[in-house]
Amino acid sequence: MTDAKVRISNLYKIFGKAPQKVLPLVRDGLSKTDLLEQHNHVLGIQNVSLDIPEKRIQVVMGLSGSGKSTLIRHINRLIEPTAGEILIDGEDVLSMSDSQLQDLRRFKASMVFQKFGLLPHRRIIENVAYGLVVQGKSAAQCDKQARHWIDRVGLSGYEDHYPAQLSGGMQQRVGLARALATDAEILLMDEAFSALDPLIRYDMQSILLELQNELHKTIIFITHDLDEALRLGDNIAILRDGAMVQQGDAQQIVLKPADDYIRDFIKDINRGRVIRLGSLATGQPPEQGAPLSGDTLLEDALTQLVDAPDQRLAVANKEGRLIGAVTLKDALQAMRS
């Protein structure tokens, strides 16, 4: 992939007094527990490489302590790596000077936080305008843009409230508006919705998807929730103990889990809402019956399969060419296993 917006290569992060000293041991395969017990260093990230494509949502998933926050903070260099390389639009983030880095954070990559990170002493409109003020925009421009984004996240009328007067979900909309207001192409979201209760969280996901449909940002979205990952992620990367275990789109992960850790992750999900017909199509497509699109979710195809002759239907790809057939039995089996 040459069109990666953000490219992370062979990234290592070790927390402790002398990370460079223990780095060779980690490269040779010393485990996180052994590193902590024998050398009193914490392994944050080990040998992670990830190409993040432009204008898509890249989800990074993993259990608590797996290094998700550490990883995302390397992208705008809130954390310095122990070894490795980070490129944004082909530019080396690690060799940036202080002022280049400041510009990266001001104009190119903005961030949404799990705990919101709003300024409690400033009104909502001032919070949303924060990035713009830091950029040095004129007061009139800050005000105009801030109002626009407050409106876009559905908070019109709350401009003059203080953060503490808003509910959690509303506060995170402020966080989202603040990040969008700077017009950055890259949006870093560290468990942005994890602190919200399920219904509000679902709403926020919808807002994000809706905005993304129109804005086409490059979004890196951290979560420990598989449903959220499957709903939002064009691509999903899974971390364990700081290492990348698997990456791919939702179907690839559900159909071919790399190991038991991931199998454990996906065991409770509704596979019918993830797997699409295209991945099951095999053999000679039948003559009769209109073909279904390969993008159709299994769950949505079931009724048509039941009604089809021989309970078997042709599947076509995006261009309309037939790529094979799926039987009801195949579909049910894929949903079960």
């Binding site: 705008n76 001001r106 961030m111 990170g117 409690p120 002493h121 830091v134 950029q135 007067q165």
Partner: protein, 296 residues
């Protein structure tokens, strides 16, 4: 056996010569530097004198109105305002108006000086652990050393008068504001600072836009304590020539005038309570937005 019964110490003659040489050195220092220092502090002296004269020359009703106005602006409470004005009326009625104005002048100037020096010092301390390690012991000494001890070199250098009194008050009163500014900035929520970092805020933007505003409640507690400690020094300052409520107290001590001592003492207490209430309610009002569903 003798060795254990008596602490091995310098002989009397040695000690005397040691003290003499220190005193001599300091006296030489005084001789060569006193004038420079005096001219350095001259603007301060003139300001203090001007302010005191202003307070004394202004008709008392005007002062009462200004005090009432300031109290209301700070506390936004009719109760506190009325009580403050009443306290001043009582003070004046019992013949302590002029001394109170003098005390008010020196306390205001001392507080202003402490804020002007203390807050920047606290900020410097908060930004570097080494500065903190260097300044903390100095503050400890300033707070614990008996004030009479540092009065000696101050008086030797600058003689008796308002400026040495002011300096003595400031030495005693400045530590809380430095400490609480430092503490307040260090206690600012790391998550909020990280957010400012993530949006590319420069160190200056972080300091004035995030750290200082969020540290304000603590800084304000520091100002409050500084005022209280300055008031506590009023009597000692009057020993080296500062006019005000301390002078009659001193006179009362040496002549055993109970009523005079108590009256002036109570006047100092009244000033302390007014300053405290007004600055505390003001501080609370500053952070009203944190409370949540209150409105503005």
């Amino acid at each position: 056996m003798d060795f254990f019964m008596e602490f091995p110490s310098l002989s009397r003659a040695e000690l005397a010569s040691l003290r003499r040489s220190i005193d001599g050195a300091f006296r030489d220092f005084t001789r060569s530097w006193a004038e420079t220092l005096e001219s350095f502090f001259n603007p301060l002296l003139r300001f203090l004198v001007w302010f005191e004269n202003l307070l004394l020359a202004t008709p008392w009703p005007v002062i009462l109105i200004v005090i009432g106005g300031l109290c209301f602006a700070g506390a936004r409470s009719w109760k506190i305002t009325a009580a403050s004005v009443l306290a001043f009326v009582t003070i004046g009625y019992f013949g302590m108006w002029e001394d109170t104005m003098s005390t008010l002048a020196i306390i205001s100037v001392a507080t202003f000086l402490c804020i002007a020096i203390g807050i920047p010092l606290g900020i410097v301390m908060a930004r570097s652990d080494r500065m903190q390690a260097a300044i903390t012991p100095v503050l400890d000494v300033m707070q614990t050393i008996p004030s009479f001890v540092y009065l000696i070199p101050v008086v030797m250098l600058l003689g008796i008068g308002k400026v040495p009194g002011l300096i003595a008050v400031c030495i005693y009163a400045i530590p809380p504001i430095v400490r609480l500014t430092n503490l307040g900035i260090r206690l600012v929520d790391k998550d909020i600072l990280e957010a400012a970092d993530a949006f590319g805020a420069s160190p200056r933007q972080k300091l004035w836009g995030v750290q200082v505003p969020l540290a304000l409640p603590n800084i304000f507690a520091g100002v409050n304590q500084t005022i209280m400690m300055a008031l506590a020094m009023v009597v000692i300052a009057s020993m080296i020539g500062v006019q005000g409520l301390g002078v009659p107290v001193l006179r009362a001590i040496s002549n055993q005038y109970l009523a005079l001592g108590v009256m002036n003492g109570l006047a100092i207490v009244a000033l302390a309570i007014i300053f405290d209430r007004v600055s505390q309610t003001y501080g609370k009002r500053l952070q009203a937005h944190r409370k949540g569903h209150g409105h503005d």
